[in-house]
Protein backbone atom coordinates (compact mmCIF):
# COMPACT_ATOMS: atom_id res chain seq x y z
CA UNK A 1 0.00 0.00 0.00
CA UNK A 2 1.18 3.52 -0.68
CA UNK A 3 1.66 6.03 2.11
CA UNK A 4 -1.14 8.42 2.99
CA UNK A 5 -0.03 11.76 1.46
CA UNK A 6 -1.30 13.62 4.53
CA UNK A 7 1.63 12.31 6.58
CA UNK A 8 4.31 12.78 3.93
CA UNK A 9 6.31 16.03 3.93
CA UNK A 10 7.70 15.64 0.42
CA UNK A 11 10.79 17.71 -0.37
CA UNK A 12 14.38 18.37 0.66
CA UNK A 13 14.76 19.41 4.29
CA UNK A 14 17.59 20.20 6.69
CA UNK A 15 16.51 18.07 9.64
CA UNK A 16 18.07 16.45 12.64
CA UNK A 17 17.71 12.72 13.11
CA UNK A 18 14.99 13.09 15.72
CA UNK A 19 12.86 15.22 13.41
CA UNK A 20 13.53 12.91 10.48
CA UNK A 21 12.50 9.89 12.57
CA UNK A 22 9.24 11.67 13.37
CA UNK A 23 8.63 12.34 9.68
CA UNK A 24 9.38 8.69 8.93
CA UNK A 25 6.81 7.60 11.49
CA UNK A 26 4.20 9.96 10.05
CA UNK A 27 4.93 8.73 6.53
CA UNK A 28 4.65 5.13 7.74
CA UNK A 29 1.16 5.87 9.03
CA UNK A 30 1.87 6.24 12.75
CA UNK A 31 -1.01 8.22 14.16
CA UNK A 32 -0.59 7.66 17.89
CA UNK A 33 2.35 8.51 20.11
CA UNK A 34 2.39 8.34 23.89
CA UNK A 35 5.58 9.46 25.52
CA UNK A 36 7.34 11.04 28.43
CA UNK A 37 9.82 13.39 26.75
CA UNK A 38 13.46 12.81 27.59
CA UNK A 39 16.72 14.17 26.17
CA UNK A 40 18.02 13.37 23.59
CA UNK A 41 14.76 12.06 22.10
CA UNK A 42 12.56 15.07 22.91
CA UNK A 43 12.61 16.53 19.39
CA UNK A 44 10.86 13.43 18.04
CA UNK A 45 7.76 13.96 20.16
CA UNK A 46 8.01 17.73 20.04
CA UNK A 47 7.70 17.56 16.27
CA UNK A 48 5.04 14.86 16.41
CA UNK A 49 2.95 16.99 18.78
CA UNK A 50 3.25 19.95 16.40
CA UNK A 51 2.54 17.97 13.23
CA UNK A 52 -0.16 15.56 14.33
CA UNK A 53 -3.05 18.07 14.50
CA UNK A 54 -2.42 18.77 10.80
CA UNK A 55 -2.20 15.10 9.86
CA UNK A 56 -4.95 13.77 12.12
CA UNK A 57 -3.99 11.65 15.12
CA UNK A 58 -3.13 11.79 18.79
CA UNK A 59 -0.11 12.63 20.91
CA UNK A 60 -0.37 12.16 24.65
CA UNK A 61 2.28 13.35 27.05
CA UNK A 62 1.94 10.64 29.67
CA UNK A 63 2.76 10.62 33.37
CA UNK A 64 5.76 8.36 32.83
CA UNK A 65 7.41 5.83 30.54
CA UNK A 66 5.62 2.84 32.01
CA UNK A 67 2.26 4.32 31.10
CA UNK A 68 3.54 5.44 27.69
CA UNK A 69 4.69 1.97 26.77
CA UNK A 70 1.30 0.44 27.49
CA UNK A 71 -0.87 3.27 26.10
CA UNK A 72 0.58 2.63 22.66
CA UNK A 73 -0.40 -1.01 22.91
CA UNK A 74 -3.99 -0.04 23.56
CA UNK A 75 -3.86 2.13 20.45
CA UNK A 76 -2.53 -0.79 18.39
CA UNK A 77 -5.40 -3.06 19.46
CA UNK A 78 -7.76 -0.24 18.52
CA UNK A 79 -6.31 -0.42 15.01
CA UNK A 80 -3.67 2.29 14.98
CA UNK A 81 0.02 2.28 14.22
CA UNK A 82 1.74 3.57 17.34
CA UNK A 83 5.13 4.26 18.88
CA UNK A 84 6.71 5.53 22.03
CA UNK A 85 9.92 7.50 22.17
CA UNK A 86 12.50 7.52 24.93
CA UNK A 87 16.14 7.24 25.97
CA UNK A 88 17.94 4.75 28.21
CA UNK A 89 16.42 5.70 31.59
CA UNK A 90 12.93 5.50 30.08
CA UNK A 91 13.68 2.32 28.19
CA UNK A 92 14.65 0.63 31.46
CA UNK A 93 11.23 1.49 32.84
CA UNK A 94 9.49 0.18 29.72
CA UNK A 95 10.97 -3.29 29.87
CA UNK A 96 7.93 -4.88 31.51
CA UNK A 97 5.75 -3.72 28.64
CA UNK A 98 8.28 -4.71 26.01
CA UNK A 99 7.69 -8.23 27.25
CA UNK A 100 3.94 -7.67 27.16
CA UNK A 101 4.19 -6.53 23.53
CA UNK A 102 6.24 -9.62 22.69
CA UNK A 103 3.88 -11.99 24.48
CA UNK A 104 0.69 -10.46 23.12
CA UNK A 105 2.19 -9.79 19.67
CA UNK A 106 1.29 -6.12 19.85
CA UNK A 107 3.17 -4.59 17.00
CA UNK A 108 4.45 -1.27 18.30
CA UNK A 109 7.69 0.60 17.71
CA UNK A 110 9.95 1.64 20.60
CA UNK A 111 12.26 4.51 19.69
CA UNK A 112 15.39 4.74 21.84
CA UNK A 113 17.73 7.68 21.29
CA UNK A 114 20.70 6.38 23.23
CA UNK A 115 22.64 8.54 25.64
CA UNK A 116 25.53 7.54 27.86
CA UNK A 117 24.42 5.44 30.85
CA UNK A 118 23.95 3.64 33.20
CA UNK A 119 21.17 5.47 35.03
CA UNK A 120 20.66 9.12 34.09
CA UNK A 121 24.32 9.25 33.00
CA UNK A 122 25.02 11.98 30.46
CA UNK A 123 21.65 13.29 29.26
CA UNK A 124 22.87 15.31 26.30
CA UNK A 125 25.75 13.14 25.18
CA UNK A 126 25.88 9.98 23.09
CA UNK A 127 26.10 6.34 24.03
CA UNK A 128 25.31 2.99 22.39
CA UNK A 129 24.91 1.10 25.62
CA UNK A 130 21.36 -0.17 25.15
CA UNK A 131 22.12 -2.70 22.43
CA UNK A 132 22.04 -5.73 24.70
CA UNK A 133 19.23 -4.31 26.78
CA UNK A 134 16.85 -4.40 23.82
CA UNK A 135 17.92 -7.95 23.05
CA UNK A 136 17.57 -9.31 26.56
CA UNK A 137 15.97 -6.59 28.69
CA UNK A 138 12.57 -8.05 29.38
CA UNK A 139 12.37 -11.40 31.09
CA UNK A 140 11.69 -14.60 29.21
CA UNK A 141 12.48 -15.54 25.62
CA UNK A 142 11.54 -13.42 22.64
CA UNK A 143 13.23 -12.13 19.50
CA UNK A 144 13.18 -8.38 19.08
CA UNK A 145 13.97 -6.57 15.86
CA UNK A 146 16.27 -3.55 16.13
CA UNK A 147 17.27 -1.01 13.47
CA UNK A 148 20.31 1.27 13.83
CA UNK A 149 20.26 4.35 11.59
CA UNK A 150 23.47 6.31 11.01
CA UNK A 151 22.12 9.52 9.47
CA UNK A 152 19.00 11.69 9.50
CA UNK A 153 18.13 10.36 6.05
CA UNK A 154 18.24 6.82 7.42
CA UNK A 155 16.17 7.90 10.41
CA UNK A 156 13.45 8.71 7.91
CA UNK A 157 13.90 5.71 5.62
CA UNK A 158 14.41 3.09 8.30
CA UNK A 159 11.55 4.33 10.45
CA UNK A 160 9.19 3.42 7.65
CA UNK A 161 10.78 0.02 7.55
CA UNK A 162 10.48 -0.30 11.34
CA UNK A 163 6.73 0.14 11.13
CA UNK A 164 6.50 -2.23 8.19
CA UNK A 165 8.47 -4.88 10.07
CA UNK A 166 6.25 -4.44 13.11
CA UNK A 167 3.18 -5.05 10.95
CA UNK A 168 4.81 -8.05 9.30
CA UNK A 169 6.15 -9.84 12.36
CA UNK A 170 4.06 -8.58 15.25
CA UNK A 171 7.20 -8.41 17.36
CA UNK A 172 8.60 -5.46 19.34
CA UNK A 173 10.63 -3.31 16.97
CA UNK A 174 13.31 -1.04 18.41
CA UNK A 175 14.57 2.02 16.62
CA UNK A 176 18.04 2.46 18.08
CA UNK A 177 19.37 5.92 17.40
CA UNK A 178 22.15 7.56 19.39
CA UNK A 179 22.39 11.15 20.58
CA UNK A 180 24.63 12.20 17.69
CA UNK A 181 22.42 10.71 15.00
CA UNK A 182 19.40 12.18 16.80
CA UNK A 183 20.80 15.68 17.07
CA UNK A 184 22.86 15.81 13.89
CA UNK A 185 21.27 17.90 11.16
CA UNK A 186 21.69 16.97 7.53
CA UNK A 187 19.77 17.01 4.28
CA UNK A 188 16.79 14.66 4.31
CA UNK A 189 14.97 14.00 1.07
CA UNK A 190 11.40 12.84 1.53
CA UNK A 191 9.92 11.28 -1.62
CA UNK A 192 6.34 11.58 -2.77
CA UNK A 193 3.75 9.47 -0.96
CA UNK A 194 3.29 7.24 -4.00
CA UNK A 195 6.95 6.18 -3.76
CA UNK A 196 6.62 5.08 -0.12
CA UNK A 197 5.45 1.52 0.45
CA UNK A 198 3.74 0.94 3.79
CA UNK A 199 2.58 -2.36 5.24
CA UNK A 200 -1.08 -2.68 6.04
CA UNK A 201 -2.49 -4.29 9.16
CA UNK A 202 -3.18 -7.93 8.44
CA UNK A 203 -6.80 -8.27 9.44
CA UNK A 204 -8.61 -11.58 9.63
CA UNK A 205 -11.16 -12.54 7.00
CA UNK A 206 -12.83 -14.90 9.44
CA UNK A 207 -16.16 -14.10 11.04
CA UNK A 208 -16.59 -13.41 14.74
CA UNK A 209 -16.95 -16.81 16.41
CA UNK A 210 -14.63 -18.49 13.91
CA UNK A 211 -11.69 -16.21 14.52
CA UNK A 212 -9.03 -17.33 17.00
CA UNK A 213 -6.78 -14.33 17.72
CA UNK A 214 -3.57 -16.24 18.42
CA UNK A 215 -3.91 -18.89 15.76
CA UNK A 216 -0.92 -18.47 13.51
CA UNK A 217 -0.78 -18.73 9.76
CA UNK A 218 1.90 -20.63 7.90
CA UNK A 219 4.34 -17.82 8.64
CA UNK A 220 3.72 -18.15 12.40
CA UNK A 221 2.12 -14.69 12.57
CA UNK A 222 -1.60 -14.50 13.51
CA UNK A 223 -3.96 -12.08 11.80
CA UNK A 224 -5.49 -9.28 13.85
CA UNK A 225 -8.82 -7.57 14.31
CA UNK A 226 -9.74 -4.03 15.22
CA UNK A 227 -11.55 -3.43 18.47
CA UNK A 228 -15.17 -2.49 18.06
CA UNK A 229 -15.81 -4.54 14.94
CA UNK A 230 -17.72 -7.35 16.66
CA UNK A 231 -14.92 -9.71 17.59
CA UNK A 232 -14.47 -10.81 21.18
CA UNK A 233 -10.84 -11.00 22.05
CA UNK A 234 -8.82 -11.46 25.20
CA UNK A 235 -5.29 -10.14 25.32
CA UNK A 236 -3.15 -11.28 28.23
CA UNK A 237 0.49 -11.46 29.20
CA UNK A 238 -0.20 -14.81 30.80
CA UNK A 239 0.57 -17.86 28.70
CA UNK A 240 -2.42 -18.27 26.41
CA UNK A 241 -3.81 -20.64 23.83
CA UNK A 242 -4.92 -19.83 20.28
CA UNK A 243 -8.17 -18.36 21.61
CA UNK A 244 -6.24 -15.99 23.87
CA UNK A 245 -7.41 -17.75 27.02
CA UNK A 246 -4.88 -18.41 29.73
CA UNK A 247 -3.38 -21.87 29.50
CA UNK A 248 -1.20 -22.76 32.44
CA UNK A 249 0.64 -25.76 31.07
CA UNK A 250 4.19 -26.39 29.97
CA UNK A 251 2.90 -27.66 26.62
CA UNK A 252 0.92 -24.50 25.86
CA UNK A 253 3.83 -22.36 27.03
CA UNK A 254 6.30 -24.19 24.81
CA UNK A 255 3.99 -23.86 21.82
CA UNK A 256 3.47 -20.12 22.32
CA UNK A 257 6.96 -19.00 23.29
CA UNK A 258 8.66 -21.10 20.62
CA UNK A 259 6.39 -19.61 18.00
CA UNK A 260 7.10 -16.07 19.24
CA UNK A 261 10.81 -16.63 18.74
CA UNK A 262 10.56 -18.71 15.61
CA UNK A 263 8.58 -16.15 13.63
CA UNK A 264 11.69 -13.96 13.70
CA UNK A 265 14.29 -16.75 13.74
CA UNK A 266 12.81 -18.44 10.69
CA UNK A 267 13.12 -15.16 8.79
CA UNK A 268 16.52 -14.16 10.13
CA UNK A 269 18.30 -14.34 6.79
CA UNK A 270 15.66 -12.20 5.13
CA UNK A 271 15.69 -9.65 7.93
CA UNK A 272 19.42 -9.17 8.10
CA UNK A 273 20.61 -5.91 6.55
CA UNK A 274 24.27 -4.92 6.40
CA UNK A 275 26.12 -2.46 4.19
CA UNK A 276 29.55 -3.58 3.07
CA UNK A 277 32.55 -1.67 1.84
CA UNK A 278 35.50 -3.71 0.66
CA UNK A 279 34.79 -6.67 2.96
CA UNK A 280 35.66 -9.41 0.47
CA UNK A 281 39.41 -9.81 0.41
CA UNK A 282 39.94 -7.67 3.51
CA UNK A 283 42.38 -8.73 6.23
CA UNK A 284 40.66 -6.60 8.85
CA UNK A 285 36.93 -5.94 8.86
CA UNK A 286 35.49 -3.16 11.01
CA UNK A 287 31.97 -3.90 12.25
CA UNK A 288 30.06 -0.83 13.39
CA UNK A 289 26.67 0.83 13.57
CA UNK A 290 25.01 4.20 14.21
CA UNK A 291 27.22 7.25 14.49
CA UNK A 292 30.23 5.05 15.14
CA UNK A 293 30.02 3.75 11.57
CA UNK A 294 30.69 7.24 10.24
CA UNK A 295 33.72 7.61 12.48
CA UNK A 296 34.86 4.11 11.51
CA UNK A 297 34.54 4.94 7.79
CA UNK A 298 37.16 7.62 8.30
CA UNK A 299 39.46 5.17 10.11
CA UNK A 300 39.00 2.55 7.37
CA UNK A 301 39.88 5.11 4.68
CA UNK A 302 43.03 6.09 6.61
CA UNK A 303 44.00 2.43 7.07
CA UNK A 304 43.74 1.88 3.33
CA UNK A 305 45.93 4.90 2.69
CA UNK A 306 48.55 3.04 4.74
CA UNK A 307 48.19 -0.03 2.59
CA UNK A 308 46.03 -2.11 4.93
CA UNK A 309 43.37 -4.26 3.29
CA UNK A 310 40.56 -3.02 5.49
CA UNK A 311 36.84 -3.58 5.03
CA UNK A 312 33.80 -2.14 6.71
CA UNK A 313 30.57 -3.88 7.59
CA UNK A 314 27.86 -1.57 8.87
CA UNK A 315 24.83 -2.96 10.66
CA UNK A 316 21.56 -1.45 9.52
CA UNK A 317 19.61 -4.04 11.47
CA UNK A 318 21.39 -5.09 14.67
CA UNK A 319 18.81 -7.67 15.78
CA UNK A 320 18.56 -10.22 14.35
CA UNK A 321 22.34 -10.17 14.11
CA UNK A 322 23.95 -11.08 10.74
CA UNK A 323 25.69 -14.10 12.27
CA UNK A 324 25.92 -16.08 9.04
CA UNK A 325 27.66 -13.25 7.18
CA UNK A 326 30.10 -12.67 10.03
CA UNK A 327 30.86 -16.41 10.09
CA UNK A 328 31.60 -16.36 6.34
CA UNK A 329 33.92 -13.39 6.72
CA UNK A 330 35.64 -14.98 9.73
CA UNK A 331 36.72 -17.88 7.53
CA UNK A 332 38.81 -15.53 5.37
CA UNK A 333 39.68 -12.38 7.32
CA UNK A 334 42.32 -12.20 10.03
CA UNK A 335 40.41 -10.01 12.41
CA UNK A 336 37.33 -7.97 13.22
CA UNK A 337 37.58 -4.57 14.87
CA UNK A 338 34.41 -3.52 16.67
CA UNK A 339 34.19 0.10 17.84
CA UNK A 340 31.06 1.00 19.79
CA UNK A 341 30.04 3.57 22.40
CA UNK A 342 29.84 0.94 25.14
CA UNK A 343 32.37 -1.32 26.79
CA UNK A 344 31.80 -4.16 24.33
CA UNK A 345 28.26 -5.32 23.56
CA UNK A 346 27.85 -6.16 19.86
CA UNK A 347 31.53 -7.19 19.97
CA UNK A 348 30.32 -10.20 21.98
CA UNK A 349 27.95 -11.09 19.17
CA UNK A 350 30.72 -10.74 16.56
CA UNK A 351 32.88 -12.98 18.72
CA UNK A 352 30.11 -15.56 19.00
CA UNK A 353 29.53 -15.60 15.25
CA UNK A 354 33.25 -15.63 14.42
CA UNK A 355 33.57 -18.71 16.63
CA UNK A 356 37.31 -18.39 17.08
CA UNK A 357 38.08 -18.37 13.34
CA UNK A 358 39.11 -14.72 13.38
CA UNK A 359 40.36 -12.47 16.16
CA UNK A 360 37.81 -9.98 17.52
CA UNK A 361 39.24 -6.68 18.77
CA UNK A 362 36.72 -4.46 20.56
CA UNK A 363 37.30 -0.70 20.65
CA UNK A 364 35.37 0.15 23.78
CA UNK A 365 34.29 3.69 24.66
CA UNK A 366 32.07 4.57 27.61
CA UNK A 367 30.27 7.26 25.60
CA UNK A 368 29.89 11.00 26.09
CA UNK A 369 31.45 11.65 22.69
CA UNK A 370 32.43 9.55 19.69
CA UNK A 371 35.72 7.73 19.14
CA UNK A 372 38.68 9.53 17.71
CA UNK A 373 39.17 7.94 14.27
CA UNK A 374 42.81 7.47 15.32
CA UNK A 375 41.74 5.14 18.15
CA UNK A 376 39.97 2.87 15.66
CA UNK A 377 42.85 3.14 13.19
CA UNK A 378 45.29 2.04 15.88
CA UNK A 379 43.26 -1.13 16.50
CA UNK A 380 43.04 -1.85 12.76
CA UNK A 381 46.82 -1.58 12.50
CA UNK A 382 47.25 -3.83 15.55
CA UNK A 383 44.76 -6.36 14.28
CA UNK A 384 46.32 -6.75 10.84
CA UNK A 385 49.36 -8.21 12.64
Amino acid sequence: MQADPKGVLTGAHFLDGDQAACEGALAAGCRFVAGYPITPSTEVVERFAARIPLVGGVFIQMEDEIASSIAIQGAVWAGQKAMTVTSGPGLSLMMEHVGFAAMTETLCVFVDVQRAGPSTGLPTLPGQGDMMQVKWGSHGDYEPIALVPSSPQECFDLMIRAFNLAETFRAPVFFMMDEVVGHMTERVVIPGASAIEVAERRLTRKKPGEYRPFEANGDLVPDMVRSGEGYRIHVTGLTHDERGYRAMTAAAHGRLVERLSNKVRANRDRLVDVREDGVDGADVVVVSYGITSRVAARAVAEARERGVRAGHLRLVIAWPFPARRVREIAARAKAFVVPELNLGQMALEVERAAGGRAVVVPVPHAGGTVHEPAAILEKILEAKG
Binding site: E167, T168, M184, T185, R270, G278, V295
Partner: protein, 207 residues
Amino acid sequence: MARTEVSMSKTETSRTETSRTEIRIGGLGGQGVILCGMVIGKAASIYDGKNATLIQSFGPEARGSACSAQVIVAEGPIDYPYVRQPDVLVLLSRDAYAQFIDQLKPGGLLLYESDLIAPDERLPARARAHGIPATRFAEELGRRLVLNIVMAGFFTGVTGLVPIDTVEKAVRDSVPRGTEDLNLRALRKGYAFGLELVGKGQRSGVA
Protein backbone atom coordinates in the same frame (compact mmCIF):
# COMPACT_ATOMS: atom_id res chain seq x y z
CA MET B 1 3.42 -13.85 4.40
CA ALA B 2 1.64 -10.78 3.20
CA ARG B 3 4.70 -8.69 2.97
CA THR B 4 8.23 -9.47 3.96
CA GLU B 5 11.47 -7.63 3.81
CA VAL B 6 14.00 -8.74 1.31
CA SER B 7 17.45 -9.54 2.52
CA MET B 8 19.89 -6.79 1.72
CA SER B 9 23.59 -6.59 1.50
CA LYS B 10 24.35 -3.39 -0.27
CA THR B 11 27.72 -2.07 -1.08
CA GLU B 12 28.97 1.24 0.19
CA THR B 13 32.18 2.43 -1.29
CA SER B 14 34.59 4.45 0.72
CA ARG B 15 34.63 8.06 -0.26
CA THR B 16 37.02 10.89 -0.05
CA GLU B 17 35.66 14.03 1.46
CA THR B 18 36.44 16.78 -0.99
CA SER B 19 36.91 20.46 -0.16
CA ARG B 20 35.86 20.05 3.42
CA THR B 21 35.42 23.23 5.46
CA GLU B 22 35.13 22.91 9.23
CA ILE B 23 33.29 25.63 11.14
CA ARG B 24 32.73 25.91 14.85
CA ILE B 25 30.34 28.43 16.33
CA GLY B 26 30.58 28.98 20.06
CA GLY B 27 28.70 31.07 22.56
CA LEU B 28 26.21 30.87 25.39
CA GLY B 29 22.87 29.08 25.43
CA GLY B 30 20.27 31.69 24.34
CA GLN B 31 22.56 33.54 21.90
CA GLY B 32 21.23 31.57 18.95
CA VAL B 33 24.42 29.66 18.31
CA ILE B 34 22.66 26.58 16.93
CA LEU B 35 20.36 28.59 14.65
CA CYS B 36 23.39 30.42 13.26
CA GLY B 37 24.90 27.05 12.34
CA MET B 38 21.57 25.86 11.02
CA VAL B 39 21.31 28.79 8.62
CA ILE B 40 24.81 28.25 7.22
CA GLY B 41 24.32 24.49 6.91
CA LYS B 42 20.90 24.77 5.34
CA ALA B 43 22.08 27.38 2.82
CA ALA B 44 24.91 25.07 1.75
CA SER B 45 23.03 21.78 1.73
CA ILE B 46 19.53 22.70 0.59
CA TYR B 47 20.10 25.76 -1.59
CA ASP B 48 23.71 25.56 -2.80
CA GLY B 49 24.02 21.93 -3.85
CA LYS B 50 26.73 21.08 -1.33
CA ASN B 51 26.67 18.71 1.62
CA ALA B 52 26.56 19.91 5.20
CA THR B 53 26.29 18.47 8.67
CA LEU B 54 25.43 20.32 11.84
CA ILE B 55 26.17 18.98 15.29
CA GLN B 56 25.10 20.78 18.39
CA SER B 57 26.66 20.53 21.81
CA PHE B 58 24.99 21.87 24.89
CA GLY B 59 24.59 21.13 28.55
CA PRO B 60 21.42 20.15 30.42
CA GLU B 61 20.73 23.82 31.21
CA ALA B 62 18.27 25.75 29.05
CA ARG B 63 20.12 29.08 29.09
CA GLY B 64 23.51 30.46 29.88
CA SER B 65 25.64 27.34 29.59
CA ALA B 66 28.36 26.86 27.01
CA CYS B 67 26.86 26.01 23.69
CA SER B 68 28.45 25.23 20.37
CA ALA B 69 27.59 24.18 16.87
CA GLN B 70 29.87 22.26 14.53
CA VAL B 71 29.21 22.67 10.85
CA ILE B 72 30.98 20.80 8.07
CA VAL B 73 30.47 21.95 4.50
CA ALA B 74 31.86 19.79 1.70
CA GLU B 75 31.41 19.18 -2.01
CA GLY B 76 31.39 15.42 -1.45
CA PRO B 77 29.72 13.23 1.17
CA ILE B 78 30.66 13.77 4.82
CA ASP B 79 31.48 10.73 6.94
CA TYR B 80 33.00 12.12 10.09
CA PRO B 81 30.72 14.96 11.17
CA TYR B 82 32.89 16.46 13.90
CA VAL B 83 35.10 19.52 13.74
CA ARG B 84 38.65 18.76 14.76
CA GLN B 85 40.52 21.83 13.60
CA PRO B 86 38.15 24.55 12.47
CA ASP B 87 38.93 26.52 9.34
CA VAL B 88 36.55 29.14 10.67
CA LEU B 89 35.76 29.90 14.31
CA VAL B 90 32.72 32.06 15.00
CA LEU B 91 32.71 33.13 18.65
CA LEU B 92 30.06 35.01 20.56
CA SER B 93 31.31 34.92 24.16
CA ARG B 94 34.50 35.22 26.16
CA ASP B 95 34.02 31.71 27.52
CA ALA B 96 33.75 30.33 24.01
CA TYR B 97 36.91 32.22 23.05
CA ALA B 98 38.79 30.70 25.97
CA GLN B 99 37.45 27.26 25.18
CA PHE B 100 37.97 27.11 21.43
CA ILE B 101 40.68 29.55 20.32
CA ASP B 102 43.41 26.91 20.64
CA GLN B 103 41.64 24.69 18.12
CA LEU B 104 41.73 27.19 15.25
CA LYS B 105 43.73 25.95 12.30
CA PRO B 106 46.99 27.85 11.70
CA GLY B 107 46.10 30.39 9.06
CA GLY B 108 42.42 29.94 9.93
CA LEU B 109 39.80 32.60 10.29
CA LEU B 110 38.32 33.95 13.52
CA LEU B 111 35.04 35.89 13.41
CA TYR B 112 34.12 37.32 16.78
CA GLU B 113 31.70 39.51 18.72
CA SER B 114 33.96 42.54 19.13
CA ASP B 115 32.15 44.08 22.10
CA LEU B 116 32.59 40.88 24.09
CA ILE B 117 35.86 39.40 22.89
CA ALA B 118 39.34 40.86 22.52
CA PRO B 119 41.64 38.49 20.62
CA ASP B 120 44.98 38.07 22.35
CA GLU B 121 48.24 36.21 21.95
CA ARG B 122 46.40 32.88 21.97
CA LEU B 123 45.36 33.51 18.38
CA PRO B 124 47.26 30.89 16.31
CA ALA B 125 50.01 31.84 13.90
CA ARG B 126 48.89 33.38 10.62
CA ALA B 127 45.25 33.34 11.73
CA ARG B 128 43.11 36.21 10.51
CA ALA B 129 40.61 37.78 12.88
CA HIS B 130 37.63 39.98 12.05
CA GLY B 131 35.31 41.42 14.68
CA ILE B 132 31.77 42.73 14.52
CA PRO B 133 29.68 44.33 17.29
CA ALA B 134 26.87 41.92 16.45
CA THR B 135 24.90 42.39 19.67
CA ARG B 136 24.95 46.19 19.33
CA PHE B 137 23.90 45.98 15.68
CA ALA B 138 21.07 43.64 16.67
CA GLU B 139 19.92 46.05 19.38
CA GLU B 140 19.98 48.91 16.87
CA LEU B 141 17.76 46.82 14.59
CA GLY B 142 15.29 46.46 17.44
CA ARG B 143 15.97 43.04 18.93
CA ARG B 144 19.07 41.81 20.58
CA LEU B 145 17.98 38.24 19.77
CA VAL B 146 18.96 38.54 16.12
CA LEU B 147 22.66 38.85 16.88
CA ASN B 148 23.12 35.32 15.60
CA ILE B 149 21.73 36.24 12.21
CA VAL B 150 23.93 39.36 12.10
CA MET B 151 26.79 36.93 12.66
CA ALA B 152 25.57 34.58 9.90
CA GLY B 153 25.54 37.57 7.52
CA PHE B 154 29.02 38.58 8.65
CA PHE B 155 30.22 35.01 8.05
CA THR B 156 28.77 35.07 4.55
CA GLY B 157 30.26 38.45 3.73
CA VAL B 158 33.75 37.58 4.95
CA THR B 159 34.07 33.98 3.78
CA GLY B 160 31.93 33.83 0.65
CA LEU B 161 31.56 30.11 1.43
CA VAL B 162 27.86 30.19 0.56
CA PRO B 163 26.13 32.72 -1.71
CA ILE B 164 24.10 35.39 0.13
CA ASP B 165 20.88 34.52 -1.72
CA THR B 166 21.03 30.94 -0.42
CA VAL B 167 21.58 32.24 3.11
CA GLU B 168 18.59 34.57 2.71
CA LYS B 169 16.43 31.61 1.75
CA ALA B 170 17.74 29.62 4.67
CA VAL B 171 17.00 32.47 7.09
CA ARG B 172 13.52 32.92 5.68
CA ASP B 173 12.52 29.35 6.40
CA SER B 174 14.43 28.89 9.66
CA VAL B 175 13.19 31.81 11.76
CA PRO B 176 9.81 32.12 13.47
CA ARG B 177 7.00 33.33 11.24
CA GLY B 178 6.53 37.08 11.48
CA THR B 179 10.20 37.75 12.18
CA GLU B 180 11.49 37.18 8.64
CA ASP B 181 11.94 40.87 7.79
CA LEU B 182 13.78 41.68 10.99
CA ASN B 183 16.04 38.69 10.52
CA LEU B 184 16.73 39.50 6.88
CA ARG B 185 17.66 43.05 7.90
CA ALA B 186 20.00 41.56 10.48
CA LEU B 187 21.51 39.26 7.87
CA ARG B 188 22.12 42.11 5.42
CA LYS B 189 23.60 44.31 8.14
CA GLY B 190 26.17 41.67 9.04
CA TYR B 191 26.80 40.82 5.39
CA ALA B 192 27.43 44.44 4.41
CA PHE B 193 29.76 44.94 7.38
CA GLY B 194 31.68 41.83 6.40
CA LEU B 195 31.96 42.81 2.75
CA GLU B 196 33.14 46.27 3.64
CA LEU B 197 35.74 44.91 6.00
CA VAL B 198 37.35 42.54 3.58
CA GLY B 199 36.79 44.64 0.49
CA LYS B 200 34.43 43.71 -2.25
CA GLY B 201 35.74 40.95 -4.45
CA GLN B 202 38.68 40.24 -2.17
CA ARG B 203 37.14 37.98 0.34
CA SER B 204 39.13 36.28 3.01
CA GLY B 205 37.86 32.93 1.90
CA VAL B 206 38.56 30.02 4.15
CA ALA B 207 41.84 28.36 4.86
